[in-house]
């Protein structure tokens, strides 16, 4: 059962080949076995999962249950789920019990899914390796000495290791696509505003977006369809109808105009990764896609732009953690200032403090124009570059990451080296565009991802390109040896 896709599990549950309870028990046992090696979960919620599975079995027996009824998933531990712990990978929230459901959680629950637990992540979603979690690093199922990517590293490792068929994630600068690429799975970051952020712990509000990590584009389409849509509780949620992503998966590729992002096939790219990409592009060409090179001259400024905007928004969002209303509080505060400073100093990890301080610096008097306003101007230039490109092509393709997964500890000394991991993924966040990553080969036994970026609200197109590619290739079906 553990190697089945969401689509197969949904069919099997309806045909009563197995029950939701059997399925949940099977995967909970796998999760427990894998936990010491991978550390993919922060909370394993066996009791609640089995209760939800029993309820799913009742609904399946009664008939008329929605299609995802009984399908097990996991949530990244920054989605609030009423009554369950939501830590965001931080000591600050290690005892926080969500008082309400995130809209994503509520919608998926209404669609019938069974949540098995909450996955590990970089603290407050700040990181590209999952080494910044208060609960310890996650390991890559393809090689336990390597990182799974981040910040949704627990979700990616859990899906790759066949512990759950799919999991939720969030993507502020690549946090779904980069771990999906490094773990050999499919991950989609939708258009800004497509999925409600209500009940997600905020990091950088002009960039954060929730999405899905799964083993195929078809499964991602099923889950995204259940998650997406207008929510009056999120002021950035867009009131636009959600297309039937599954129904459009088979859309042919004939005549599809594909732009190759010139700036990302550059000297920073591992030549072996480039070979995988070029081979994947031939698969698309063989199906009638028309390839051409496209240049986005301001795109190389994505990383510096992001490392002004994201920390600025983070420093403002994380000001709410004051040791008063919720979260960690220091022992015996001398006065209110001491309470704030020590609670925050003790509750936040090194990288979160680094981002808060960077954000505080770029927003401080005398620097606001030079850094923040300047970055928002460059961001407008980057968005313009994308707009021009999408007047000439339907989708843009690049590698998801410059290299396959790196060793745990390899980049922890220099934050700037770590930040450059997101060089290919950040642009889509700055411009609010949807983008996904699909597995497209292996380098030295480690998976490599292909990124497909589209215009605003083109998720159906992206998923269909990915699906068509996955019909012709089997990279997405490969499983790490220890987890087959």
């Amino acid at each position: 059962m553990h190697s089945a896709t969401v689509a197969q599990l949904s069919a099997g549950l309806r045909e009563r080949k197995f029950s939701a309870t059997e399925l949940a028990r099977d995967l909970l046992a796998r999760i427990a076995r894998a936990q010491p090696a991978l550390n993919a979960f922060i909370s394993i919620e066996s009791e609640a999962a089995l209760a939800a599975a029993a309820e799913a079995d009742r609904r399946l027996a009664a008939g008329g249950a929605p299609p995802l009824t009984g399908v097990p998933i996991a949530h990244k531990d920054l989605f609030c789920a009423a009554g369950s712990r939501t830590t965001c990978g931080s000591k600050m929230l290690s005892n926080f019990i969500s008082p309400y459901d995130a809209t994503v959680v509520a919608r998926l629950r209404a669609a019938g899914v069974v949540t098995l637990g909450k996955t590990n992540m970089d603290e407050f979603a700040m990181g590209s390796s999952n080494e910044n979690s208060h609960f310890g690093p996650v390991r890559n199922p393809w090689d336990p000495a390597r990182v799974p990517g981040g910040s949704s590293g627990g979700s990616a490792a859990a899906v790759a290791a066949r512990l759950v068929p799919a999991a939720t994630g969030t993507d502020t600068g690549g946090s779904i696509r980069q771990p999906a690429a490094l773990c050999g799975i499919t991950g989609i970051k939708p258009t800004y505003g497509r999925v409600s952020r209500y009940g997600m712990v905020a990091f950088a509000s002009s960039l954060d977006q929730a999405g899905v990590l799964a083993r195929s584009a078809e499964d991602a389409a099923l889950l995204l369809g259940a998650m997406a849509g207008f929510d009056p509780r999120d002021s950035t949620s867009v009131d636009a109808p959600v297309p039937d992503y599954q129904a459009s998966l088979d859309q042919p590729l004939a005549g599809l105009r594909v732009g190759l992002l010139k700036e990302f096939f550059d000297k920073g790219l591992d030549p072996a990764v480039e070979v995988c990409l070029r081979t994947a592009l031939e698969v698309l060409r063989a199906q009638g896609a028309v390839l051409r090179e496209v240049s986005l001259p301001n795109l190389p400024l994505s990383v510096p732009t992001y490392y002004v905007v994201a920390p600025a928004e983070c420093s403002s969002n994380l000001a709410r953690f004051d040791g008063v209303r919720y979260g960690h509080r220091c022992e015996k505060p001398r006065d209110l200032r001491d309470l704030y400073e020590r609670s925050r100093g003790e509750g936040f990890g090194a990288e979160v403090k680094r981002r808060i301080m960077t954000g505080t610096y770029v927003l401080s008097a005398g620097y606001y124009d030079a850094y923040y306003l300047k970055a928002q101007r460059v961001r407008a230039l980057i968005a313009d570059d994308f707009r021009r490109a999408f007047s000439e092509v339907d989708v843009l393709i690049s590698p998801t990451t410059p290299t396959p997964a790196f060793a745990i500890g390899a980049k922890t000394d220099d934050p700037v080296t770590m930040y450059l991991n997101d060089i290919y993924t950040i642009g889509a966040n700055l411009a609010g565009l949807p983008a996904l990553s699909v597995p497209c080969g292996f380098v030295g036994g480690l998976p490599v991802g292909m990124q497909i970026i589209g215009g605003h609200f083109s998720e159906a197109r992206l998923l269909s390109v990915a699906h068509r590619y996955q019909r012709e290739t089997d990279w997405h079906q490969r499983a790490p040896e220890a987890y087959r």
Partner: protein, 96 residues
Amino acid sequence: MSLTRRDIDAIAHLARLALTEAEIPVYIDSLSRIIELVGELDHAATAGVTPMSHPLPGQTQRQRPDEVTEGDRHELYQRNAPQAQAGLYLVPRVIE
């Protein structure tokens, strides 16, 4: 550009973060590198460019009528409070 100890102390104070002595040299070094990275933006020609205010073109933040939509749930929310009493959050004495 290199930041100094005094810069880090000032930033940490503004951010209300207590740093240990061991953390300070680490942040002097890494924040200096980050400021150097974001300094690349200086080279971008942005004269006459309007700063981006929303990731979706033409969109602005939606507003809602100023109406109460949520019920009183402070008891539930205060279960996460480090210290609460009689419906109030407790903090160290502010006024002497």
